[in-house]
């Protein structure tokens, strides 16, 4: 498997405050990688830096061997990186169908495939998206990003604040997406589920790489040191 995304010594700042310090991450094609760490350790900032949302960054980010760290976010998305942001950021003034087609690009994922994988959405295509429940809005956010036919999907807290049923539905969908050769980086709080689904884990602590490895190598000691509250 070739390397899809390589983050090389990534540092990022909010104003004068440095929030990431020379972070290195590698993701191979078809892999699911999880970013772990307590709140405020730089997980979302890392994801946003990859997507070109953070203005002040240094270091290099390569996607399919292209340097993307200086590109505007819409160009990065066009290259095949799809972000599902934290907090169900749908377009609430559009219908469900409009949310899906607004960003659609040619590829495996089209409206029909989305309808199959998200039956809840297919029943509500003409509804205004702000009338959906929280779980449905999260599904719409994932589906909208899939419609851009990304090579890599970034899921930031995709299951946060959802009921166990909906959460399980979303985990199933993530597994389905993986089968279609889409690489995934995810940030999530449900460690047990992540250990089942992820191929590799990265732990960030105070904006720096603290640990990385296969899920079975994650010991209780590491969890206690970096992840326990």
């Amino acid at each position: 498997m070739s390397i899809l995304l390589r983050i090389d010594k990534l540092s990022a700042w909010y104003g004068d405050t440095r929030v990431l310090n020379e972070v290195d991450i590698e993701i191979k094609e078809g892999e699911i990688v999880a970013l772990l760490g307590r709140n405020g350790m730089g997980k979302t900032t890392t994801l946003h830096s990859v997507c070109g949302i953070i203005e002040k960054v240094s270091g290099k980010i390569f996607f399919k061997n292209n340097l993307i760290s200086n590109l505007p976010s819409y160009e990065i998305s066009k290259l095949g990186i799809g972000l599902v942001p934290e907090g169900r950021r749908i377009f609430s003034n559009l219908t469900v169908e409009e949310n899906l087609i607004v960003a659609s690009r040619k590829g495996y994922w089209d409206l029909n495939k989305i309808k199959k994988i998200f039956p809840r959405l297919s029943e509500r295509l003409t509804q205004m998206s702000n009338s959906l429940s929280g779980g449905e809005q999260q599904m719409l956010a994932i589906a909208r990003t899939l419609m851009t036919n990304p090579k890599m999907l970034i899921l930031d807290e995709a299951t946060e604040g959802l009921s166990p049923n909906i959460r399980n539905e979303i985990w199933t969908i993530i597994s389905e997406i993986k089968k279609k050769d889409v690489s995934i980086i995810l940030v999530d709080k449900y460690l047990n589920k992540i250990k089942q689904i992820a191929d590799k884990l990265y732990i960030l602590d105070r904006g720096e790489n603290a640990w990385n490895g296969k899920p079975y190598l994650l010991t209780d000691q590491i969890v206690k040191k970096y992840l326990s509250v």
């Binding site: 160009e75 998305s77 377009f91 003034n93 559009l94 851009t148």
Partner: protein, 330 residues
């Protein structure tokens, strides 16, 4: 209370029958008045595309309206006076062919909209309002100080411009020309609103960062729709010049921009047919309140105040079943 589709259909039928009412009531002025309503509605639909659906508060749409008027006036002026327009080594005799005039109007308003949009869209909010206003004011003062075309006094056309086989001087014929343009405008804007461009525009209004994150450049989307909006408003200006057979700097003034904006807000933003109702009520208020009191604009202000407080979706929201929800397609 009826559905929006039914109301839209009724509006079009009513407008289509206006000349008939005019004949039955033996008052041809009604047709001329409604020609003005239809023209302002076209300008309003143009503005509403970016204002209602794109959230771009342009306070300078008179620039396009006026440019359309002046393109029409200047081409006809040179044609009627047998004085060719000289641009470097080229000479152009001008024209009184409406089809040609409309093409020129669309081209020039699009170019102007590209220019204004390119600079204005680097800003947002109150700065966007101010910069669009500033561009329009520049054109306004330029037109005042351009004696060739009448300066402050404006430019009169002896006859309306022509279309083969039609008598454009006939008020009913001219009304139907405007009506056809209204239908064409509605079709074009409806098509845009349901296309990926229009959907991206509505999405950009909600959140530009989110639009970027799905691979769309919101600035490009906004610029393209700004150009389309400017072209539509320019065309309305061209029809307005022919309706009155007169153009003057007034149609480039900030009051004109304000009028177009008011009729959009009055009729209902986010609704394709809102500006038609807006133009209708605006002109009717102007005519009837204007007949009763000189201070009709005070009462117009009062009505707008009530509307902004109680019915953000405009007059449309009083008449249709589905309430204010920033409906996206019409």
């Amino acid at each position: 209370m009826i559905s929006e589709k039914k109301l839209n259909f009724l509006i079009l039928i009513f407008l289509f029958l206006v000349p008939l009412f005019s004949i039955l009531l033996n008052d041809i002025y009604i047709t001329t008045l409604f020609s003005k309503i239809v023209i302002l509605a076209i300008a309003g639909i143009g503005l509403n595309l970016i204002l209602g659906y794109g959230g771009m508060v342009s306070f300078g749409h008179a620039a396009f309206f006026g440019l359309g008027g002046y393109v029409t006036g200047i081409l006809a002026f040179h044609f009627n006076n047998y004085e060719p327009i000289q641009i470097l080594v080229f000479e152009f005799e001008g024209t009184n062919h409406l089809l040609l005039i409309w093409i020129f109007t669309l081209i020039f308003s699009s170019i102007l909209a590209f220019f204004i949009g390119y600079f204005s869209l680097r800003t947002s909010g109150v700065y966007f309002i101010m910069i669009t206003l500033a561009f329009a004011q520049m054109l306004y003062y330029f037109s005042i100080s351009w004696p060739t075309y009448g300066g402050e006094d404006g430019l009169s056309l002896s006859l309306r411009n022509q279309i083969p086989f039609l008598n454009t001087m006939d008020p009913i014929t001219f009304f139907y020309i405007c009506y056809v343009w209204l239908i064409i405008t509605i079709i074009i804007v409806k098509f845009i609103l349901n296309s990926p461009l229009g959907i991206s525009l509505k999405a950009s209004k909600e959140n530009e960062d989110r639009v970027r994150s799905v691979g769309i450049n919101p600035k490009k989307v906004k610029l393209i729709t700004f150009i389309i909006s400017g072209a539509i408003t320019g065309l309305a200006g061209s029809l307005y010049a022919d309706l009155n057979r007169f153009v003057s700097p007034t149609i480039l003034s900030w009051q004109m921009s304000g009028e177009i904006m008011i009729l959009v807000i009055l009729g209902g933003m986010f609704r394709l047919y809102g500006p038609i109702l807006g133009a209708f009520f605006y002109i009717i208020l102007e005519q009837f309140l204007g007949g009763i009191t000189e201070n009709w604009q005070f009462w117009l202000g009062f009505i707008i105040l009530l509307e902004v407080l109680y019915a953000k979706a405009g007059i449309m929201s009083f008449l249709i079943r589905d309430k204010y929800d920033e409906k996206t397609s019409s």
